[in-house]
């Protein structure tokens, strides 16, 4: 469903992604792990063109994303993104956060958008907070709203960039729980994470990145149980 071919990305002189080839199939949950600075976020951000690509190609359902003729806004509307820092819109209450994009982009009526939003907020367990403001919510609650906001666009896939890294430990679980349920419903997900337990339990594939390359890739059992590459072994030795 998402195909990445020979992806290179440089920031000026610094080459951060040095040729990535990968394919993500529909309904797959792909967890991306690796040391800090290895290019995980950049990889994710290239997929919906938050960073422009230096070389290579990305296809989402056969549509070349980095083609000048492709309407990037249409692509982004189909691929949700959840950020480490939540990035809720602080001047809107929770339900407005969720309905804004469907109303602006999908031209959904307010009534329909609100019905959808309530349904999604129920799903992430926060319908009671619909009329509160982001600053009144805990980090874990804000991140769950951010997931509902992404879902409101009915995306074909969602990209998660360390969704629990900014959270206090006691809130990590509630967010992972929501993500796990999404995975069970068949959402296609790419998750950059340091939660090895989540990667092992929920991931269909685990990708280990280091130094701008995908060093190793496999099922959770293969990668965690029997890593072949020395760098993978060293990394897992540190984090497990």
């Amino acid at each position: 469903m998402i195909k990445i071919e020979n992806l290179h990305k440089s920031f000026g002189e610094l080459e951060v992604l040095k040729g990535i080839d990968y394919e993500i199939h529909e309904k797959q949950v792909v967890c991306v792990i690796g040391p800090s600075g290895s290019g995980k976020s950049t990889f994710l951000r290239c997929i919906n063109l938050l960073e422009d690509i230096t070389d290579g190609a990305i296809y989402i359902e056969k549509v070349k994303v980095n083609d000048p003729k492709t309407n990037i806004n249409e692509i982004r509307a189909e691929v949700g993104m959840v950020f480490q820092q939540f990035n809720l819109f602080p001047h809107m209450n929770i339900i407005e956060n969720v309905i804004m994009a469907p109303m602006q982009i999908r031209k959904m009526s307010r009534a329909n958008a609100e019905a959808l939003a309530h349904e999604l907020l129920k799903k992430v367990g926060l319908d009671s907070k619909a009329y509160n403001y982001p600053e009144q919510l805990s980090g874990g609650q804000q991140q769950r709203v951010a997931i509902a906001r992404a879902l409101a666009m009915k995306p074909k896939a969602i990209l998660f960039d360390e969704p629990t890294s900014a959270l206090d430990p006691e809130m990590v679980k509630e967010v992972l729980e929501v993500m796990k349920n999404l995975a069970l419903e068949g959402m296609t997900m790419i998750v950059v994470t340091h939660e090895m337990g989540f990667a092992r339990e929920v991931g269909d594939r685990v990708v280990f990145m280091d130094g701008g390359y995908i060093v190793e890739e496999g099922t959770p059992d293969e990668l965690f149980g029997n890593p072949r590459n020395d760098r993978t072994k060293a990394f897992l030795g540190k984090v497990l």
Partner: protein, 234 residues
């Protein structure tokens, strides 16, 4: 004060000129400021554009205007630009308002630019990742947040413009200061008219300060409307 032998009836005798002067000052300031907001917003947005052909003209305009005295700009427009374009000079209102708009816009542009850039990058990214265009993201996400932060500097700019509008006196626009000058000349009494002009400006700026403080207070600190806060408290 006895030494100066102030005769305040001079002011009363020429009250019509002062009333008109206040009107002209307010007209110039308000028109200049409103135009300066609209043009300043466009220039400010231009200065955060990633397109070079938009960015550079806006940046150069803002730097040129901010780097030269308003008095020089006023004289260029009134004595050189308009006569060259139209074949004769236009009235003080046209020249005065044009200068104030063009000048105020450059300063407001900087306020808009700084305000927009003060909003965390993640806000724009979150909006774009949902599929919003740059324009939609600006309108729905960035500007509503940035505008709050801009209220204090935009207020300062209004007060600065109110005072700077007195420069139009040099093109004989009958504003507060011009009235004082005429009266001082006619009566040979410099103290009363100029002191009174200062007093009028002080009243105007003081009133403006109060109004700005009220607006600032309404929109400060929290994004949560007072109504919603009450609901939560109960």
């Amino acid at each position: 004060m006895d030494l100066l032998n102030l005769q305040w009836e001079v002011i009363w005798n020429y009250r019509d000129m002062f009333i008109r002067g206040v009107g002209i000052t307010l007209l110039l300031t308000l028109a200049g400021y409103c135009g300066g907001i609209v043009l300043g917003l466009m220039l400010g947005l231009g200065q955060v554009s990633t397109k070079k052909w938009i960015y550079w003209p806006c940046k150069i305009y803002v730097d040129l205007v901010r780097g030269t005295p308003m008095l020089v700009q006023l004289l260029i427009i009134h004595l050189a630009l308009f006569p060259t374009i139209f074949g004769h000079s236009l009235g003080y209102l046209a020249s005065g308002i044009t200068t104030l708009v063009l000048n105020c816009a450059a300063y407001n542009a900087e306020i808009f630019r700084a305000g927009i850039q003060s909003i965390a990058k993640g806000q724009m990214e979150a909006a774009r990742s949902l599929g919003l265009t740059h324009g939609q993201a600006m309108r729905k996400v960035i500007l509503p947040q940035a505008l709050r932060r801009m209220i204090p500097p935009l207020g300062n700019e209004f007060i600065a413009l109110l005072k700077d509008s007195s420069l139009v006196m040099v093109i004989a626009a009958p504003d507060i200061l011009y009235a004082s000058k005429v009266i001082a000349g006619a009566t040979f009494r410099p103290w009363e008219p100029y002191l009174f002009a200062a007093f009028l400006y002080l009243i105007l700026t003081y009133t403006a300060t109060k109004i700005i403080a009220f607006i600032e207070k309404r929109y400060s600190n929290s994004y949560i409307p007072r109504k919603a806060k009450g609901r939560l408290a109960r």
